[in-house]
C-alpha cells in the first residue's frame, strides 16, 4: 500500500462548508420563512417588512452587508461542497469538470455578492 | 516450499511472543525475527485477560510477600529461585508497559493504581479497568510495530519444529490464506502459543487455545511438566464458560449460595466481613473457591439453571457508578450475554477451566532440553505457578519471561551456526507430507467435532475439580481410543484457501496428545495439592513422595511416560496452606 502523503486542499472548502452548514442550520429556516412565505403571504409579518427602504438600509450598513454576504456566499459554499461529495457518493466519480462547477459557482456567486453589495456603498 | 531465513523464530504472537520479539529486537537490531501466529496478534488470547497484572509497588508491600503468596498459593510446587527472579522483575516490566503506553488505571495523583486479588497479602494488581489483557496485548502489538527487524507471519499455522544436529533449526507453517507451506529457518525458536484449556468442555478460553506449541515441543522429546494442574476459575458464566474476572471479588463482590449465604466461611476462609479483606473469603485462592463450590453442590446448596448448578456473584452493593468505572466489561457481558443488570441482580456463576499451570518444561532462563528451543507464557512451565496459579501472576509472567526468553534466544542465535538448508528442507517436506495426508484421507469417517466433544467431556469427567482413579482411568482409556479414531479423521474440505476444517483437524491432533499428558500426569499423582484434588484415599498433600514435578514424555502412539523431577526450594519450606483467620494464625 502506498499512502499518498500529498497535503489535501480540502480544509479551505471544508471550513466554508462547515460555516455555511452551521449558518444555514441556525438562520436558514427563519430566513426562508421570512422571505419566501411570511412576507409574500403577509403571514405573521407586516407587508412592508421587506420594503426597499428597509432592506437597502440594512445592506447599506456594515453589519447588515456582512450578514447578507455571509448568508449568500456561505450557503453557496456549503451546498457546492455537499453536492460535490454526493456525486462521489452516487458513484459518479466527479472529475475536474464537476469540481469546477461545484466550487466555481460558489466562487462566482461570492464575487457577484461582493459586487452587488459594494455597488450600494456603505454608511 | 518457500523458505525464510530468520535468526530467531517466535511461534505465537500473544503477550509473551510479542514481548519476546521486542526483547530480541532491542538486544540486537541486526537479528532477523520471524513472529509466526495462527491469528493476527491482537486476536491472541491474552486479549481476554481481565483483572490485572501483579507487581509490588506499594510501600507496605514487599518482594517477599509476593514471593510467599506465590509459593504458598502454588502449594510449594514452585521453583523458588525462579519465583524470586520473577517477583523482582515484575515492577520494572509493568513500568516498561506504562512507558509503552498501556492505559493503566490511575490514582487521583497520577500514579498507577493497584487492586486486591485472590490469595494476596497486599494489593499489587496493576489494572486497566477490567480489560487489562486487552490493553497489554494491544500495547505490545502496537509497540512491536516500531521495530523493523520483526517480520510478522500473521495467520500462519505452525505444524512442526525442524530439528537437526541435536538442536532446533526452524519451524514449518501453513500460510492459511493460500494453504502454502513455508519453512522458517532459525537458529533459535521460542514457543509462546498459550495454554490448552479447550481440551475441557466448559472453559473460559478462546477457540484458539488448543495447546499447539505444547504438542510441538512434546513430540520433539521435551517433557510437559505439571500438566495435571488445570486451574478452575470459580466465577464463570454457566454454559459458555465466559470469565467474570477475579477483580469482581477484588472490588468487593460476594459469592452467595441458594440461601443467600456467603458459604466460603464454611471452608476455612472466614470469618465473613462486609469489606473485602486480603486472603479472606472471596479473596481466597482460585483452587479453594472452586473446591468450595463443588462441596456446596454436593450439599445441594447451589442454585440450578439450564446449564446446571450455579451460585450468585453479588455485585449490587458496589453500585452502578463503581461497576461502570472498575468493571465496565463485566457489566457489558452480564447485560449482553445474560440479560442481567449487575447493579440490580446477582450474576449466576460456576467454576470453569481457565488456565494450564503446567507446560513445556523450561529452566529458569526459559530454555528447554532441546538446544535452541525456548518456551514462555502459558504454554511453558517455568516454575512460578506450582500447583495453583495466583491471579494476576500470568500477565506479569508474559512480560518478565517474555523478555528473558527473547534475550536468551538472541544470545543463543548469535553464537549458533547456520544449518544446512538442504537437510532442513527435506525435514520440512516430510512434515508437510504428513499434514497433507489429512487432506488426502478421503475415506475417513470420524467427525472432528464428535471426537473433540468426546475428548472435552471425558476430560471434564476425569480431570475436573475433584478426581477419582476410576474416572481418570476411564479418561485415559478414552483418550487412547480417540487417538486411534483420529487416524480415521474426515476432513471434508479439500481446498487450500483458508481451509479451517483442515486446521481444526490438526489442532485436534495437538489437543488429544496434550490431553493425554494431563490425564496421565493426574492419575499418577497420588496426593492432593493445589488444583489436583483426589477423593479416593489421597486427600492429603504428600510431600514425602510428591513434592515433585511430574514430567510427561511423548511416547509415540502409546501412553505418555510419566517421570518426576525435583522441586527447587530456596527460602520457603513447605508449610500449611491456610487462608482467612487460620492463615493469620499461621502467620501468612
Amino acid at each position: 500500500m502506498s499512502i499518498n502523503l500529498k497535503r489535501s486542499n480540502a480544509p479551505v472548502f471544508w471550513l466554508l462548508f462547515g460555516a455555511g452548514g452551521m449558518l444555514s442550520a441556525l438562520v436558514g429556516p427563519v430566513l426562508v420563512f421570512i422571505t419566501g412565505i411570511g412576507v409574500p403571504l403577509g403571514l405573521l409579518l407586516p407587508e412592508n417588512t421587506l420594503s426597499y427602504t428597509h432592506v437597502h438600509a440594512l445592506a447599506h450598513s456594515w453589519i447588515g452587508a456582512l450578514f447578507l454576504f455571509a448568508v449568500v456566499a456561505l450557503f453557496f459554499w456549503h451546498a457546492g461542497h455537499r453536492i460535490y461529495h454526493s456525486l462521489h457518493d452516487l458513484g459518479l466519480h466527479p472529475g475536474a469538470g464537476a469540481k469546477l462547477v461545484c466550487y466555481g459557482v460558489p466562487l462566482l456567486a461570492t464575487l457577484i455578492a461582493v459586487y452587488a453589495l459594494a455597488s450600494m456603498g456603505y454608511s | 516450499m518457500e523458505i525464510y531465513a530468520a535468526d530467531v523464530a517466535i511461534v505465537g504472537a500473544g503477550g509473551a511472543g510479542l514481548r519476546a520479539a521486542i526483547a530480541v529486537a532491542e538486544a540486537d537490531p541486526a537479528l532477523r525475527i520471524a513472529l509466526i501466529s495462527k491469528v493476527y496478534p491482537m486476536r491472541s488470547h491474552t486479549v481476554a485477560a481481565e483483572g490485572g497484572s501483579a507487581a509490588v509497588v506499594q510501600s507496605q508491600d514487599s518482594l517477599d510477600y509476593h514471593f510467599n503468596d506465590t509459593v504458598g498459593g502454588g502449594d510449594w510446587l514452585c521453583e523458588q529461585d525462579v519465583v524470586e527472579y520473577f517477583v523482582a522483575h515484575c515492577p520494572e516490566e509493568m513500568v516498561q508497559l506504562e512507558h509503552w503506553g498501556c492505559p493503566w488505571s490511575r490514582k487521583p495523583d497520577g500514579h498507577v493504581n493497584v487492586r486486591a486479588f485472590g490469595g494476596m497479602k497486599i494489593e499489587r494488581t496493576w489494572f486497566a479497568a477490567d480489560k487489562t489483557g486487552f490493553h497489554m496485548l494491544h500495547t505490545l502489538f502496537q509497540t512491536s510495530i516500531k521495530y523493523p527487524s520483526i517480520r510478522r507471519f500473521d495467520e500462519h499455522f505452525c505444524i512442526d519444529l525442524v530439528d537437526a544436529d541435536g538442536r532446533v533449526q526452524g519451524i514449518v507453517a501453513i500460510e492459511i490464506r493460500s494453504g502454502r507451506f513455508i519453512l522458517v529457518k532459525a537458529k533459535a525458536v521460542i514457543i509462546a502459543t498459550g495454554g490448552a484449556g479447550r481440551v475441557f468442555r466448559e472453559n473460559t478460553n478462546g477457540g484458539i487455545v488448543t495447546g499447539d506449541g505444547m504438542a510441538l515441543a512434546y513430540r520433539h522429546g521435551v517433557a510437559l511438566r505439571d500438566m495435571e494442574f488445570m486451574q478452575y476459575h470459580p466465577t464463570c458464566m454457566p454454559g459458555t464458560g465466559l470469565l467474570f474476572t477475579e477483580a469482581c471479588r477484588g472490588e468487593g463482590g460476594f459469592l452467595l449460595n441458594k440461601d443467600g449465604y456467603r458459604y466460603l466461611q464454611d471452608y476455612g476462609l472466614g470469618p465473613a466481613q462486609d469489606k473485602p479483606r486480603n486472603k479472606y473469603m472471596e479473596l481466597g485462592p482460585r483452587d479453594r473457591l472452586s473446591q468450595a463450590f463443588w462441596y456446596e453442590q454436593q450439599k445441594g446448596r447451589t442454585l440450578s439453571g439450564p446449564y446446571g448448578a450455579y451460585v450468585d456473584l453479588d455485585l449490587r452493593h458496589l453500585g452502578k457508578a463503581r461497576l461502570l468505572e472498575r468493571l465496565p466489561q463485566i457489566y457489558e457481558m452480564a447485560e449482553t450475554f445474560m440479560g442481567i443488570d449487575p447493579a440490580k441482580q446477582p450474576i449466576p456463576v460456576r467454576p470453569a477451566v481457565h488456565y494450564t499451570m503446567g507446560g513445556i518444561t523450561v529452566d529458569g532462563r526459559c530454555a528447554t532440553s532441546l538446544p535452541g528451543l525456548y518456551a514462555v507464557g502459558e504454554c511453558a512451565s517455568v516454575g512460578i505457578h506450582g500447583a495453583n496459579r495466583l491471579g494476576s501472576n500470568s500477565l506479569a509472567e508474559l512480560c518478565v519471561f517474555g523478555k528473558l526468553a527473547g534475550t536468551e534466544a538472541a544470545s543463543f542465535a548469535k553464537s549458533a551456526p547456520s544449518g544446512d538448508t538442504k537437510s532442513l528442507v527435506a525435514r520440512a517436506a516430510a512434515s508437510q507430507q504428513r499434514i497433507e495426508e489429512l487432506l488426502k484421507n478421503s475415506d475417513g469417517s470420524e467427525r472432528i467435532a464428535t471426537l473433540r466433544k468426546e475428548m472435552a467431556q471425558s476430560m471434564e469427567e476425569g480431570c475436573g475439580i475433584y478426581r477419582l482413579a476410576g474416572s481418570m482411568q476411564a479418561t485415559c482409556d478414552k483418550l487412547m481410543e480417540l487417538r486411534q479414531r483420529f487416524r480415521n479423521i474426515k476432513v471434508e474440505d479439500k481446498s487450500r484457501v483458508w481451509n479451517s476444517n483442515w486446521l481444526m483437524a490438526i489442532e485436534l491432533g495437538y489437543q488429544l496428545e496434550v490431553a493425554q499428558a494431563i490425564a496421565h500426569s493426574a492419575i499418577n499423582r497420588k496426593e492432593s495439592r493445589g488444583a489436583h484434588q483426589r477423593l479416593d484415599g489421597y486427600e492429603k498433600r504428600d510431600d514425602v513422595n510428591y513434592l515433585k514435578h511430574s514430567l510427561a514424555y511423548f511416547n509415540a502412539d502409546a501412553a505418555p511416560r510419566i517421570e518426576y523431577g525435583a522441586v527447587k526450594i530456596t527460602k520457603s519450606q513447605p508449610g500449611i496452606r491456610a487462608y482467612g483467620a487460620a492463615g493469620d494464625a499461621a502467620g501468612h
Binding site: 442550520a25 436558514g28 422571505t35 409574500p40 405573521l44 417588512t49 426597499y52 451546498a79 | 484457501v497
Partner: protein, 137 residues
C-alpha cells in the same frame, strides 16, 4: 478447481453499486445530503435578490412580486422543510464533530450537545424573527 497447491487465492471484491439503499441509516444520510440542493436553490434566490436590490427600487419590487407567485410560495415551503431537516440532522451529527465539551469537570453527553444546538437554533430563529418584525413593523 484443481489448482495447484497454494495458487487458489482469488479475493473477491463486491460492488458498491446502490450502497446507499442498503440500510435506513444510509438512506437518511443521502436525504440529508440532498438538502444541499435546496440550500443551493435558496442561495440563488437570495443572490438574485441582492443583485436586484443593488439595481434599485423597481428591480427590488419585481423580485418581491416574484416571491408572491403561488409557485414561489410552494417552492419555499419545500425549501423550508428541507432546510429545517438539514438543521435537525446537523445538530444530530454535531456531537461527533466536536472535541469533548467539559462542563464542571464532566463531559457533556451527545444528547446534551444536540439539545444545545437545537436550542441555539430556536433562539436565533426567534431573535431574527422579532428583530425583523420589530425593526420594520
Amino acid at each position: 478447481m484443481n489448482t495447484p497447491a497454494g495458487n487458489g487465492r482469488r479475493p473477491y471484491m463486491r460492488s458498491m453499486q446502490g450502497w446507499w439503499r442498503r440500510n435506513t441509516f444510509y438512506v437518511e444520510y443521502m436525504i440529508h445530503e440532498a438538502t444541499a440542493l435546496f440550500v443551493a436553490a435558496y442561495a440563488v434566490v437570495l443572490l438574485v435578490g441582492l443583485v436586484r436590490l443593488s439595481q434599485g427600487q423597481a428591480a427590488w419590487n419585481a423580485w418581491l412580486a416574484a416571491l408572491r407567485s403561488p409557485g414561489s410560495v410552494v417552492f419555499h415551503v419545500l425549501v423550508l422543510a428541507a432546510i429545517s431537516y438539514h438543521a435537525w440532522t446537523w445538530f444530530q451529527i454535531m456531537p461527533r464533530t466536536l472535541p469533548p465539551v467539559m462542563l464542571k469537570g464532566k463531559r457533556l453527553s451527545a444528547a446534551a450537545i444536540t439539545r444545545s444546538g437545537l436550542a441555539a437554533a430556536a433562539i436565533v430563529t426567534l431573535m431574527v424573527f422579532f428583530l425583523v418584525r420589530g425593526l420594520w413593523a
